[in-house]
């Protein structure tokens, strides 16, 4: 029994080391957990560029909920601006969302897209970035 535990511990340690090595190489793993992080998230008014909202915190919450999956959906509606309209009256076309995220060392920009309660950006750390 003790022998089995030793083997199990050794195996687990090997797996953890291998995973760490993959992260160290900054190569997103083909399956399993990946390192996705929001670098920046910005909602900005189209007509009044000074009106912006830093939504990095909100976007990272969505990423955290994905729990390390390769593909992670981030709703890009008013959830990003605490339920508020940063430019009231500007309508559907009035606000745009841009998100920059990292898969390991690789940086990606998604958006700008219209802020839209029915839309979700699908962040992709699967490696298919062409």
């Amino acid at each position: 029994m003790r022998h089995c535990i030793k083997i199990s511990v050794a195996f687990s340690a090997s797996v953890l080391l291998a995973e760490a090595a993959v992260h160290a190489l900054d190569i997103p793993v083909a399956s399993g957990k990946v390192s996705m992080q929001i670098t920046s998230c910005l909602v900005s008014s189209v007509k009044s560029p000074g009106k912006t909202y830093d939504c990095t915190t909100e976007a990272n919450k969505s990423v955290a909920a994905c729990n390390g999956t390769e593909l992670c959906e981030i709703p890009i509606g008013y959830n990003l601006t605490a339920g508020k309209d940063i430019d009231p009256g500007s309508g559907f076309l009035g606000k745009r969302v841009k998100i920059v995220y990292q898969c390991g060392a690789v940086s990606q920009q998604w958006g700008p897209y219209n802020q839209d309660d029915h839309a979700s950006l699908v962040m992709d750390c699967s490696g298919a970035w062409w």
């Binding site: 309508g91 559907f92 998604w110 897209y113 839209d116 029915h118 839309a119 950006l121 699908v122």
Partner: protein, 561 residues
């Protein structure tokens, strides 16, 4: 709620009970007395699809089930930005809906699956991504000085040319089947994953309720003029599918979106976009880019019966019957007479070409729209003449049990004044729709909605659609009788099976096949084996029927006690 259709290995799962249905092969003395109710049921009193109509339906169903991205047979040369696939899908779905509602209400799986398939196809990127072009608008029409960035979400703003059909078909589906699947969040999902363009992967999710609310709000925000087709262009025709979609939606959900229909009509009249005295209208109203209620400008008024008049007429008949019929005929009936002459003499094919319609394909679409409009208002004379014109001039095809009129680009006018050109929208959909609509079919579809009573009635399922056509499937509640006629399909089989569902377990049913009384059947009895087929109660309470299919077989299953 109608149960999910089962495809079980019936030979294994059927439970054959001990008693045998009184056999028709025996002597008369062996039969139970024939009930008065079964004698009173005459199959000829119920709707029945003809061979041609079955061929049309088979073609529509086949097209609905083509693999995603396979648009074989849909291609049109009418080069409007959105192309015409979405319209073919939508009008095909509504044709199947009217057949479901009025011809074979007790046979649902074929229509249910095909309507759903059409709805799924409307979410295919080939359909909705066209919006990225349309939403850019531009200088054409004098609305802007240049194209705009546009937007990707096909529902959020404008684009009634897509979302109206999602509402119309989704609500019709829910009304027909009592299945609220489109109420689910994300029931309509549009996933942009195109390579080489765009700002990354993005999904747009809507429920049927989201779409209804969106369209309703746009109509209100436009001062009741409507939801725009392309940005800043509101067509009367494009409002009709969503208008009637509201009717079904309200019936299913208990809402009152339909109250905007009269307000919209009144607004068009008050603003001079519809002249109710001359039955003329502005096909399109232009608005400001920013505000659909601002700078509304009509184009010169034209008769409501021609061009795209039928687009609205065939559906608006459901809620504005008198006006729509009057508009069809025009003052003194002249508009209808002139239009019919126009479409029967090849004149329509001589209409001036436009740069987005190099081969007059739109002329054929207008031909089909008029035909469908004539059918809905019950102008049998016009329908018969136009169908005769189609038979003479369009090359109809029978193929694998499907009947349709394939596209022809020959829009020249021959020495007899006929044109042979036909667009797929007309050949695939409008002609079948008109042939199947004996007058007021859409009126009935929207004014005689189904509910729990219909969902609980007996119906048949598990029909092999390759070997079997169902030309009759009707439950007559006044006689408590189910009338079913099966006909051979394109794949020859000696025997076929079907399942009868939702018979009352406490009732005894009289069974007649091809005018021959087989006897009585109830849950206490089992199957029969009279040499020509069998009937077997199954564990789930359904009745499995096996029959030969070399020729048409008509069954009457009526409650006798």
């Amino acid at each position: 709620m109608i149960g999910e259709i089962e495809f079980m290995n019936t030979s294994k799962k059927a439970v054959i009970l001990s008693l045998v249905l009184f056999s028709g092969a025996g002597s008369a003395a062996a039969f139970s007395p024939v009930s008065p109710s079964s004698r009173a049921v005459n199959p000829n009193d119920y709707p029945k699809l003809t061979e041609t109509e079955l061929g049309h339906i088979r073609h529509l169903v086949k097209m609905a089930h083509q693999l995603p991205g396979d648009w074989s047979g849909y291609g049109s040369q009418w080069l409007l930005t959105e192309c015409t696939q979405q319209f073919q899908l939508a009008f095909s779905g509504m044709t199947l809906a009217l057949v479901q509602h009025q011809y074979t209400p007790a046979y649902r799986e074929l229509y249910r699956e095909a309507i759903d398939a059409n709805i799924q196809k409307l979410q295919h990127p080939d359909i909705w991504e066209r919006w990225m072009f349309s939403s850019r608008s531009g200088a054409r029409g004098g609305i802007l000085n240049d194209m705009q960035p546009g937007w990707m979400d096909p529902i959020a703003k404008d684009n009634i040319m897509l979302k109206a059909y999602l509402l119309q078909l989704g609500a019709a589906y829910e009304m027909l089947y009592g299945d609220r699947k489109y109420d689910q969040p994300g029931a309509f999902t549009f996933f942009y994953r195109g390579q080489g363009m765009g700002n990354g992967l993005i999904k747009f999710r809507y429920s049927l309720g989201d779409i209804a609310k969106n369209i309703h709000q746009e109509v209100v925000d436009s001062d009741y003029v409507g939801s725009a087709c392309e940005p800043a262009r509101i067509f009367w025709a494009c409002q009709a599918p969503s208008s009637v979609g509201f009717l079904h939606y309200d019936q299913v959900h208990g809402t009152d979106y339909g109250n905007i229909l009269r307000k919209m009509k009144n607004s068009w009249v008050a603003k001079g976009f519809i002249d109710p005295k001359t039955y003329t209208y502005s096909e399109v109203v232009r608005t400001s880019w920013e505000d659909r209620a601002a700078d509304q400008k009509p184009v010169p008024l034209s008769p409501m019966v021609r061009d795209i008049g039928g687009w609205s007429g065939m559906f608006n008949h459901a809620w504005d019957r008198k006006f729509v019929e009057a508009a069809y005929y025009g003052v003194g009936g002249r508009a209808r007479d002139e239009a019919l002459k126009f479409y029967l003499t090849g004149e329509f094919a001589k209409a001036p070409s436009t740069f987005d319609d190099p081969i007059h394909a739109y002329a054929s679409v207008a031909w089909g729209l008029f035909l469908a409009y004539a059918a809905e208002v019950g102008d049998k004379e016009a329908v018969d003449k136009m169908l005769a014109y189609a038979q003479r001039n369009y090359k109809s095809v029978w193929e694998n049990g499907e009947y349709y009129y394939p596209r022809s680009d020959d829009y020249s006018v021959d020495e007899n004044g006929n044109s042979h050109g036909i667009d797929p929208w007309t050949g695939n959909v409008f002609i079948p729709m008109a042939r199947l609509n004996k007058g007021g079919a859409f009126y009935k579809l929207y004014n005689q909605p189904w509910g729990e009573e219909q969902y609980r009635q007996p119906y048949i399922s598990n029909v092999d659609a390759l070997s079997t056509n169902v030309s009759q499937a009707f439950y007559d509640k006044t006689k408590d009788a189910l009338i079913v006629t099966l006909e051979p399909g394109p794949i020859a089989e000696k025997q076929v099976q079907f399942t009868v569902r939702q018979l009352e377990p406490t009732k005894t049913y009289s069974v007649t096949k091809n005018d021959k009384v087989l006897g009585h059947l109830d849950r206490r009895s089992g199957g029969n084996a009279d040499g020509s087929g069998s009937m077997t109660w199954r564990e789930d309470g359904s009745l499995l029927v096996t029959t030969e299919i070399a020729k048409a077989q008509t069954f009457i299953i009526s409650a006798s006690r």
